[in-house]
Point group: C2
Chain length 66, copies 2
């Protein structure tokens, strides 16, 4: 899976730390997500969708490895 969190963060002018705080996770979790180190839970995806006001499907995408 890949995601556009870094892009959305740029659009909304948010640091990893600020975004992390907004969805109640650690900064490392945001960082690891952006670097595709792991797959986040659906709750996190929904919270990010809410913050960026975009559907989950426009932020997260399945790729070959899924």
């Amino acid at each position: 899976m890949r995601n556009l969190i870094k892009v959305e963060r740029a659009i909304h002018n948010l640091t990893q730390a600020k975004l992390a705080e907004m969805i109640s996770v650690s900064r490392q979790t945001i960082n690891a997500m952006e670097l595709n180190k792991y797959v986040p839970s659906t709750v996190l995806a929904l919270k990010i969708s809410e913050i960026f006001k975009k559907p989950v499907n426009e932020i997260f995408f399945l790729d070959g490895k899924d």
Copy 2:
């Protein structure tokens, strides 16, 4: 978090076992998801979204506990 997997399964006439097979998880995983026993990964949410041809946001919803 809550979800409408059971409803979508009914619409598409799929058993838990069939859906499980389609997204390569165990039947118990589908069952537990429907009963809100745990939060699935975003990859699973995207696969379910694909199968039911509906956005993740129309199948999975944040609730008070999130």
